[in-house]
Symmetry: C2
Subunit: 413 residues, 2 copies
């Protein structure tokens, strides 16, 4: 099956909004074996929108539109689809009552133009929208399918998962299952070359690598008659991937490294305290982003200056004077100070040169020392990265702290 | 002038990469008064790419392509443009020697396929690429202009600013200057309605409002014969905007609120310490993201639990027991504790309910207390926001801390 993704909205052509829906839909369609041939964006202009839809229908079997389903004058996607498909718009009582219900719940009066959202092309299947007011729908005619989804990403994702995916799985005669494996400590090109024996000539399951700042990911996907079969194929390939690069794997369900660390701490009833210099709270912030983590993380120290390392963590002044603030010795004293003063099971610290200034020949921008300590002793790590700008450097220092804590926890079973 | 933005790249159709270039180019073209009618994305398929380019040239005066200029087989944009424009590709010696130079500098051998990057459609103006290897170019024929830019956003932005913008300014007969004013504490719809007298019927300068999570912005742009004239028009309009909504303005040069606060602290040689509960280091992290801030910020306290507020900040236990951890009294004790223990000019604190759990009827998710204290006394603020999910709530709490510090500093002149 070949597809076009057609976005409707002048805000996209003004550059006010980045079209993330096209990438979202494309990656999902690719998993289903649907070839996306075009992304197309038009404004709220009826003639151009209709012409773009006609072209898309002529050249591909499936057109998914995003946007233009709202209650206002310039929302014209439904009208265009009805016109091009040669049907009328009819009032859908189910949609109308769900919109009325929505307004009752939020305690606001429903304005007349909201009735417009209950108009649906005759013969279309309606996708009820539980997370907004604009419903989506699907209409088939002469072997062509047009799917209309609302523009807000949260609503689009919801309706795609709930209604479009099951429909496409039926149409494409198979069920897709996939896993996203996340890796730290290996670059994408190195990951790809290690997996070459698995990737080459493989059509199902498919294996694709992705790069993200400081880490990378592998997606394994399979399409089979049933979900169980597809998952079994994915699981088997995951084992083969693990045999090659398992040492770098930290999550097989697309969770962030911080979420993995938080879950391990909570599961083992372990507590941790952080002492951060250049990352300035980024480590603590990433942990606290995980709901429920208060059980394991209740305090952190941001010690940017030498004085604050001495005052808040009890780092001996002569350690800083002898070895420097960015040194293994200072990192150890920081982590041990944090652990001792906070009375936690684990302490973690970082001290480094994030830039843009402050680098020297001996300790250039991009260098950091990290220490993790606990009942099982301590581990230190010197991180040497190329300078990627202050804030990306800081992000990478934080990821390495998470990685060190994760490895410390893994070695502690 | 009417324009199409045509992206070339299978990675976009696979959903591996989000097309941010289209929004970037669109927003710049809009400033120049160029109407963008279409965004179009095709894969590395010669026939479809050529057909898309032909259509784009037929329907619009200006086509800007992004991507497909690299050295590999599937980089086909130049070939397609030469074919559609009916010219040959010729070797550009200037480009060739700059690519050779690039490889000498990074100390790697130049492979043969890199010579391909020095091929340029005959008669095109070359845009030399100082930040990568693939040059861009522009070719005009029969009143139509095709501009080709490399896909990596950093290179595309660079060549657009350096070569495309001056060309378009000449073509559109004028020079654009704009300012981005940023506001906190007023919603976009309210901002827009207050500015209606200025926006309505205005063609130059243009005034556009934008919403961002927790804040919003106004862009004032003018196109005149000279940059000085345009800037004078923008400045005059800025004054009128300030007269209406100046109390909410925090930056007139697109700087973040945290950068504004850091700059004010540094300029006045003031020091600050933070005490954060639910934001977990986000405030400190945002300040430390600003280079040079160590002069004003050297330590922060992350006190997530009641015990840590007592231990690290000296919050009296009976205050927490009497008023609760999320209360004005606790916020005051936290800010004063941070200021006193850190020995800084200013202390700032936050304690709130970020969710997803922990809310109650009395203190629902989205409620936070903030306190700023210093030599000029103290200011407290109860923030009541609707629940937008744990991490967005935390971001908004952090912004409000910045806002309170900013206002405290402004009242302290």
């Amino acid at each position: 099956m070949k597809a076009t993704i057609l976005a409707v909205g002048t805000e996209l052509l003004f550059g006010q909004v980045i079209n993330t829906n096209a990438a979202y839909l494309s990656s999902r369609l690719q998993l289903l074996g649907v070839d996306v041939l075009y992304h197309f964006t038009v404004g709220d202009n009826p003639a151009r929108a209709a012409s773009a839809l006609e072209r898309s229908i002529a050249e591909t079997d499936l057109v998914i539109t995003s946007g233009g389903l709202g209650p206002t004058q310039d929302d014209l996607t439904k009208e265009i689809i009805a016109e091009v498909m040669g049907v009328n718009l009819v009032l859908d009582e189910g949609v109308l009552s769900s919109i009325e219900e929505f307004f009752r719940e939020i305690g606001r009066e429903m304005t007349a133009n909201n009735r417009k959202q209950a108009l649906i092309p005759e013969g279309a299947s309606v996708f009820y929208n539980d997370v907004g007011t604009a419903p989506g729908f699907m209409i088939e005619k002469n072997g062509k399918t047009v799917v209309a989804l609302p523009g807000p990403p949260r609503e689009l994702h919801h309706l795609f998962q709930k209604d479009v995916l099951p429909y496409l799985e039926r149409r494409t005669d198979g069920v897709i299952r996939y896993k996203l494996l996340r890796f730290y400590g290996i670059g994408e090109s190195s990951l790809e070359s290690k997996l070459t024996p698995l990737i080459d000539g493989q059509t199902d399951p498919t294996i694709a690598t992705y790069a993200k700042e400081g880490e990378c990911a592998v997606r394994i996907a399979s399409k089979r008659k049933t979900g169980e079969e597809a998952l079994a194929v994915v699981d088997a390939m995951e084992e083969r991937v693990k045999n090659l690069v398992g040492e770098f794997l930290y999550s097989d369900d697309d969770r962030e490294l911080s979420a993995v660390v938080a879950a391990k701490l909570m599961a083992r009833n372990l507590t941790i305290a952080s002492a951060e210099s250049c990352t300035g709270g980024l480590f603590a912030d990433s942990l606290i982003a995980v709901p429920g983590v208060s059980k394991s993380f209740d305090r952190g120290y941001i010690t940017y200056s030498n004085e604050s390392k001495i005052d808040l963590l009890g780092v001996p002044k002569d350690i800083i004077e002898t070895f420097g603030a960015v040194s293994e010795e200072t990192a150890v004293a920081m982590a041990e100070g944090a652990r001792e003063r906070a009375g936690t099971d684990i302490g973690v610290s970082v001290t480094g040169v994030a830039g843009s200034d402050g680098g020297s020949a001996e300790k250039p921008v991009g260098v950091a020392w990290i220490c993790v300590c606990g009942a099982n002793g301590r581990k230190t790590k010197k991180l040497v990265t190329r300078d990627r700008g202050r804030n990306l450097n800081r992000h990478i220092f934080m990821l390495e702290m998470m990685n060190q804590v994760n490895r410390y926890l893994s070695s502690q079973i």
